[in-house]
Symmetry: C2
Subunit: 391 residues, 2 copies
């Protein structure tokens, strides 16, 4: 198969997966006709096994359907689906002070709040996506206001209840600047607008995690970027580092910053190389940079989302740099993913495999898996492959 | 092999394991000569991979060495080991209000606090064990005072910072009454003393989790003991239910309560039956009572501690009731454990296996695994087998 045929073959495979197997699963099983929003805890066949609604996933699903409506086809069902989530989120998920719950009952009463800012981030992402889908500026204003609050909290997590204790090692987490950078992309549709200084600050902070001498991207570093020699400092999260790579790449391209573009591409390549399980295939969930056993029990499992991120990140690298090895990496992770995660009997992807690639959890949606990483990655890859087909 | 030979063979195997392979590992690698207390994050060969000290494990190790000194042999090294932990705990682990940190730096500065009462419980257990080992009554008074505080907090976890939210389903966790009942056993050396009403209350609450109609022990139930049909309510933790069984059995024996004794024995038998993986062997970490995929990523892993609890619980059942099936269950779980967990090259047991029994984490000690479940179970089994040899 020549390169152009391979591009078309992947485009077709991904297109079928997205529009025939993934999106229909959520359209069919997730809507809550009584209270609005989405059931996100769905068993293999779509049956609701927990009626609680997790706000990360309510926000992400509203964003996803808004974005499909805006970029793929103005289907009324997609906009209605997004609108239902937005109504539920605005009516129930946010407190007066702007804090956003982590989980609600089906009818919107709070069950759980995290001492983190991610619920707030995905709430903001949903509003931004819906604003751009509908053109209704009041949602964009709300998203901007919420982004401003999140920005302030991100500088001092004590404000969302994280205890500050004397023995803690001063550190910063990659998760914070990367989600903020992605939020600015979603709020401004990649324009950046008034957020120039904030974008610079996110990029600066993200690059502190990139250690070219080791060809590693550390999840947690000291405030000056230096290595912390404890399990937190040694912690590698290849999927996260790969996702951070393509978040950065989008800004590098917009800014025409070639050095940043090379670094962002390398973050993906290095993290894929160190994260790939050469014995059983797939990307490890976590690793320890010095080769110790990572402490989290799930470290050697293969989760859907790092593979989703890696598919798009490698494809983007290939499109931008044309290196054969980037294409090979895209094909490797895409072939692994399609061989292990999809469930063509009931739709959507399984989320969790053991190290050897056996499915360990049959559900399609849970407190941390919903209508997001699979369709976002497929949509991004589909767009990219179509651009490549045309060019 | 006849029964008496089998008893002696297991007694010898367990004796060697405890005194030649497990206790020496902690004696050799865990002491911190500089600051006192114990390094509890130890790699396969005993190397310290994280210098932080986790208070659950500091308390449990101090209790373990105190108890070995009191019941096995008055070795000065064992008492010194216990004393070092007690000093570190009293100097650093407790706040003025009685709250106990979850993790400290090696030199005793706080890193993490939980919104739970377990650090406080294991702190109390350590003081009680040390008081009984030394006969020094001031430690017992401190343990009693701390038990009183923990008892109050256990009635309202909002007092330790757990948020109370409108959408939460009223429920109670088996973990709370079972640890309190065990604490009273440790503080009073099984006498009960002035805690008659508290013991009654713990037993009453624990029995709410036992559903004989289903032959299941639920981790979380409604305040009246009824089943909650969501992932929390359907959650089964076989190791925990088995441990709760032998905690209850000790009081049933002391009180001569035959009905309670039968129930406690059944808790162990039912939980072992429903928790055993008939395909790959070993006890599942978690299950869903209705057969859904449990949400925690580690549900199908085989952890050391449920197996430790099951060894002793079945042996105790057999000693008390003489049923051949209890002996078979003891042999089954003990043989599985000895085939999978010990590391005779470096000592102690591995803690974590995948569903198929492959070691997934090479370390011997971590934030939740230390000098406790393995030596406690071996010590309990050794005592029980010796009593059976004599009789």
């Amino acid at each position: 198969m020549n390169a152009s045929n391979a591009i078309s073959a992947y485009r077709k495979q991904i297109e079928r997966e997205l529009f025939d197997h993934v999106i229909p699963f959520w359209e069919r099983h997730s809507p809550d006709p009584e209270h609005g929003g989405y059931f996100n805890c769905l068993d293999r066949d779509g049956k609701v096994y927990d009626t609680r609604k997790h706000i990360w996933l309510q926000g992400r699903q509203a964003w996803m359907f808004s974005t499909l409506y805006r970029t793929v086809e103005q289907k009324k069902e997609w906009l209605d689906m997004a609108a239902s989530g937005i109504r539920f989120l605005r009516d129930h998920a946010i407190r007066e002070d702007g804090r956003v719950w982590f989980a609600l009952t089906a009818d919107g009463r709070p069950v759980h709040i995290q001492r983190k800012i991610f619920s707030e981030c995905f709430y903001t992402m949903a509003l931004a996506g819906y604003a751009h889908a509908t053109g209704e500026s009041r949602y964009l204003r709300e998203a901007e206001e919420q982004l401003e609050r999140v920005w302030e909290w991100s500088k001092d997590l004590a404000k969302v209840g994280r205890p500050v204790l004397e023995g803690q090692t001063p550190s910063q987490a990659l998760a914070i600047p990367m989600i903020l950078l992605n939020l600015i992309e979603e709020v401004t549709l990649g324009e950046g607008g008034k957020y120039r200084a904030e974008i610079d600050e996110c990029i600066r902070r993200m690059l502190l995690h990139v250690h070219p001498d080791r060809q590693l991207v550390f999840e947690t570093v000291a405030p000056d970027g230096s290595f912390i020699d404890d399990p937190d400092g040694r912690f590698l999260n290849p999927g996260h580092a790969i996702e951070a790579g393509w978040f950065l790449q989008h800004w590098a391209q917009r800014r025409g910053d070639r050095e940043l573009a090379e670094t962002a591409a390398d973050m993906v390549r290095w993290s894929f190389r160190s994260g790939w399980d050469s014995e059983h295939g797939g990307i490890y969930y976590f690793l320890d940079s010095e080769g110790y056993s990572p402490v989290p029990l799930e470290w050697s499992m293969k989760l859907w989302w790092p593979h989703c991120e890696a598919m798009y990140a490698h494809l983007l690298n290939y499109k931008l740099f044309g290196r054969e090895s980037d294409w090979q990496a895209f094909a490797q992770v895409t072939d692994y993913s399609f061989a292990h995660f999809p469930d063509h009997e009931h739709g959507e992807w399984y989320g969790y495999l053991d190290r050897r690639g056996n499915v360990t959890h049959r559900f399609k949606g849970g407190p941390y898996k919903g209508c997001f990483h699979v369709p976002r990655a497929l949509w991004l890859c589909w767009n990219t492959l179509r651009e490549m087909e045309v060019s």
